[in-house]
Amino acid sequence: MPKLITQVGCPYCGASCDDIEVLVSDDGKKILETRNACVIGNEIFHHVSNPDRPKRPRQRQTDGTMKEISYDEAIDFTAKTLIKAKKPLIYGFGSTNCEGMSAVARVAEKAGAVLDNCASICHGPSFLAIFDNGYPSCTLGEVKNRADVVIFWGCNPMHAHPRHTSRYSIFPRGFFTNKGQMQRTVISVDPRETDTAKLADIHLMIRQGHDYDLFDAFRTVLRGYDIPAEVAGIKKEQILEAAEKMKKARFVMIFFGMGCTHTDGRNHNIDAAISLTRDLNSITKASIMAMRGHYNIAGPGQVWSWQFGFPYCIDLSKGTHAHMNPGETSSIDLAMRDEVDCFVNVGTDAGAHFPIEAVKHLKKHPFITVDPNICMASEIADLHIPVRVVGVEEPGVVYRMDNVPIQFKKVIDGPEGVPSDEELFDRIYIRMCELTETEPLWIHVKEHAKASSSQVE
């Protein structure tokens, strides 16, 4: 009898839906069917049984071809490469669990590496704004149960977070919002008429790149001052109308995305958005949230903040203390300045998602990719180490876009002999200790137990 597993977490976007139902074959090895997932989530669950999926590490040979090697050899190579490098960069973590992030952090500390995550090229500017201005936010259930004005600014959940609007932000009937969408005014601020904008009651088709101007116009209006007839391509009347909706709301929710952080102004746009939220809290209740892209990209920000005090761009090369200065210690800038001499890509695809100029710089040095799948970063790497797929073959804690921890399940066993990120990096750590003749540091008994049980091969 196939088995139906419910309340499964989906390892795709930052909405981190945990209501997926997965029908698993009798032997627990194959996924037959998924329910509730969006098209993308569905793809992930089915993709794990793709026969072309790599199940052993592959190392690039001098003729450019890739040759399978054992995990022990791959671990040895990675450990030696990290020890040899003066300033390796370990980057990624869009798609792994917090246990893996923690294991990598210890390796990075040992290696004197720079530790960075995908926020660096996504919501990094949001962190910069948070450093300056704070973060008045809430969990997504507050939006569902209370929000009556919802603003999507420079974000397009209908495409990037397909179930966000149905689970949290537009459609659900919450405790104080029992009429669902009927009770909510949706405002979209976007230079395109996106599928999210089409759902909105008010679409402010902003002139691209002028977000700061418009945030500022709202703040000006809410504080009772006049604004020009047109700001950022939006007519004054429209701004006043939207501002009036916010003022009269009982709970204003502002979601913002890459439309604000990827363009001119960067952190200053978010700074203005946070200030707008602060201002609104003197009038009514208001909250703001970054539309984090991946299901656990909030995770490294959490794990590394409690371990090092910084969420990203963490330079551990000084040995005695961590140092963070985005612009200086951020992946793209380090790459463009040729400041790192080894690149480890974990649970992401820098090959596809970095500007190609940065990829070319990184490729001058040893390039190692740790990822379950074939991707651009695996296909240009000197070494590709496949791992289990978190959320499908490996359980663990993930942080949703609202920083709520969700304990993901596993639904099937991973391919035989393929380790999790956590196991892999713990073994790399042990190997580094052996090579440097130092004592491994274990914080906890759990890790003693784990170390002895992780000898998969």
């Binding site: 793809e43 996504c122 395109r192 990203y312 596809a352 070319k360 296909e379």
Partner: protein
């Protein structure tokens, strides 16, 4: 009719891109989802091309051949969109305004017809850029 038009480029997500990416970046689906530029029909008219014509998009850092299509989500004239991914990143300026985050959106490009040029595969673009591409052209 102009030989080339200057437009403002943004590179953002799309559900087709997300789905195809999870299927695999070497799949035809990914190629189809991402090797395109969305532009307003008025801009196509200015450039003298029909929809589904290959164009060369050039930014301050490089250029890429993609297929011009009519927007799946309305783009105003002057604004062009390449979905995030391999083709977009051939032309995304790595400058970060000292924030760490590249200029993925809001950078000037010129777009010109390239009817006889071929759209390269993801693998050819990425491996080719680091000297690993072994296939033909």
């Amino acid at each position: 009719m102009a030989e080339k038009v200057v437009m403002n480029m943004i590179t953002q997500r799309a559900i087709e891109e997300g789905q195809a990416m999870e299927k695999g970046k070497t799949t035809p689906e990914y190629f189809q989802a991402c090797s395109i530029v969305e532009m307003n029909p008025d801009d196509m008219k200015r450039l003298g091309i029909w929809k589904n014509t290959n164009v060369r998009v050039t930014s301050e850092v490089g250029s890429v051949i993609v297929k011009a299509i009519e927007p799946t989500q309305f783009c105003p004239p002057g604004l062009a969109h390449i979905r995030q991914g391999v083709w977009a990143n051939q032309i995304v300026p790595p400058r970060t305004q000292s924030t760490g985050t590249p200029q993925y959106s809001g950078f000037p490009v010129t777009i010109e017809p390239a009817i006889n040029e071929k759209v390269k595969s993801a693998l050819e673009l990425v491996q080719g850029s680091v000297g690993l591409w072994k296939g033909g052209n």
